[in-house]
Amino acid sequence: MSEVSTSPNAAPGLSERLRRAAQNGRLTATLILLPPALILFTLFVMLPLGESGVYAFYDWNGYGAPEDFVGFRNFEQMFGHSVFSVAAGNTVKIVIVSLLVQLPLALLLALLIYKKTPTNAAFRLIFFVPYIMAEVAAGLIWSFVFDGNYGVTASIANSLGIDRFFVLADRELAFYAVMVVIVWKYFGFHMMIYIAALQGVPDDQVEAAQIEGASRRQIVRHVQIPHIRPAIAVSVFFSIIGALQVFDVIIPLTNGGPSNQTHTIVTYLYEFGLTRLRIGFGSAVGVVLFIVAVLVAVFYQRIFMRRANP
């Protein structure tokens, strides 16, 4: 997309630049390589986005053309719906847990195993397995774990001699269980980002700090973390955007239940928009989610990513 910078608003010396671009083959490359990307992006990203922006103002079941224009009614319904508030609240909780539990955990593990040794390589692989596992499979595995009759929790209850408990059926506990699974599923990704970054910290800076009497914690705080700050900025960004979009693990775990207590915005969209054939309503949810994501992205890039790359 950087070739877009040869567009007409790059006014001074435009013809000169075009001529040079034509000579060194960049113009040809642009003409050949840009259209497929542009067409695909337009067809599969911009058009659907624009369309759902339109559908959001219709009451439409997905069949035929949308005709029943309802103005902002979909939005009013959504913001008035208690389940939407729960879903939005859950999404915020996921963001918070991702930032305050998942990322510190990922950083801690990365600090433990970033050095290149065979043992560390094995641990790295183990910790990364949840991330490469299909979301649905992960959800299924954990639904067995949490199964109060036959699962791991059942064994725990038995060995402790307490009553069986059904975590995923408990209105209070279910979402905590979901968050455990989310942390488990995605920490490996952030851990890998941190490991790569930590390996880039020059050894001699760590050694210099050792010689100066810095403790392990002081080295982490004063030498390693400042070094990997750009990586942390990226990982926080991925973490927030990912948290806004959590969907797949929830369906096999709780499917949003019990009593709609474990929905996220996306499962809410799926449940109340798609499965009930209220495409217009679902589009409205999608539009809200999209706007939030874009706002986060724009502000985050403005504030943090820029400072991270001076």
Partner: protein, 336 residues
């Protein structure tokens, strides 16, 4: 008192024995330079003294204390790395007083030491800058400043000047010599550079494959190299080494003649032809071919102007020849 002693130190990385068995005493307040070819274990030795590596066996004492298993920060040493190892996100001042801060040295004391170091190293105007905004020489000084403020008993330097250009290196060499005079600590210094070794050292340690070939003052090593290896390593251009029969002494396996111990003569001498001539101004270095002897390098006074291909007659000063036995050891009493 901060004499550094290594007693039968060995170091292996897995199957690779880098230092087979090494004993060395670095006298208190001396400037000791470790030299040797790449990969001979100089950095490893320095890191053993620093505590960044633990010896496989043997003992290390600093100022009489056994520090073999002690943490680097508990040894009273400081180290200047080849790459400087400055913290890029901290200002010069922070880089210098980092160690003092984390060991909770009181503010006044910290500032006093920081200002003292900045004064010695002429860094006063740069204290607020980040390392990226400094020149190579300034960065080097910051790294040295970071060492100074800790008042170490022993300074360790690992090729500290090798990233600097020649002019800056010459200047920093003088500054290091001055520093050593003014703070009178023990300094152990690793270098590849002949000139640094000869000019800075009280004592040079020549290493080869993890062993010490010779220890001595610069002029000891120059005048009486203990082996062919040292003879070839100390002095620039390198000493000419040739079989004894070249000078009519078939009883001597190897004869060494320094390029500067050869002169142009009118009388008896080798008939030679200059292959390449390097005119340095003060000296003229000629790479010549000698019948029946082979290639030789000679250093002649600068007023002798030569061209490639010139013929000249050369004579080696017989009093300044070095004789080595079949094992490459120096044969004593041979240089009359």
């Amino acid at each position: 008192m901060a004499e550094v002693r290594l007693e039968n130190v060995t170091k292996a990385f897995g199957n690779l024995t880098v230092i087979p068995d090494l004993s060395l005493t670095v006298p208190d307040k001396s400037f000791t330079v470790l030299v040797g070819p790449s990969g001979c274990g100089k950095s490893t030795l320095l890191r053993l003294i620093a505590g960044l590596e633990k010896p496989t066996s043997g003992a290390i004492r600093i100022g009489g204390d056994d520090v073999t298993r002690a943490e680097p920060s508990k040894r009273g040493i400081s180290m200047v790395f080849q790459s400087y190892a400055l913290y890029p996100h901290m200002s010069v001042a922070r880089n210098i007083d980092f160690g003092l801060r984390i060991s909770n040295v009181p503010k006044e004391e910290r500032e006093r030491r920081l200002n003292e170091a900045a004064r010695i190293l002429a860094l006063e105007d740069y204290l607020d800058r980040k390392p990226a905004e400094l020149s190579g020489g300034q960065r080097q000084r910051v790294a040295i400043g970071r060492s100074i403020v800790r008042n170490p008993k022993v300074f360790l330097f690992d090729e500290p000047l090798s990233n600097l250009d020649a002019a800056l290196r010459a200047q920093m060499r003088v500054e290091l010599a001055e520093l050593h005079q003014s703070i009178a600590s023990t300094m152990i210094y690793v270098t590849h550079d002949q000139v640094e070794a000869m000019t800075l050292a009280d004592q040079i340690v020549v290493m080869n494959k993890g062993r010490i070939e010779q220890i001595g003052t610069p002029m000891d090593l120059y005048d009486k190299p203990a082996s062919v290896f040292v003879a070839g390593f100390i002095g620039s251009p390198k000493m000419n080494l040739m079989p004894g029969k070249a000078i009519g002494r078939p009883d001597i396996p190897t004869v060494g003649i320094r390029p500067e111990d050869v002169e142009v003569t009118e009388g008896d001498g080798w008939e030679t032809k200059a292959r390449v001539v390097e005119t340095l101004g003060s000296d003229t270095i000629a790479h010549v071919r000698v019948e029946d002897v082979g290639e030789m390098t000679v250093r002649l006074p600068g007023h002798i102007r030569l061209n490639d291909g010139d013929r000249l007659k050369l004579r080696a000063d017989p009093a300044r020849q070095h004789h080595f036995d079949a094992d490459g050891r120096r044969m004593e009493g041979q240089t009359a």
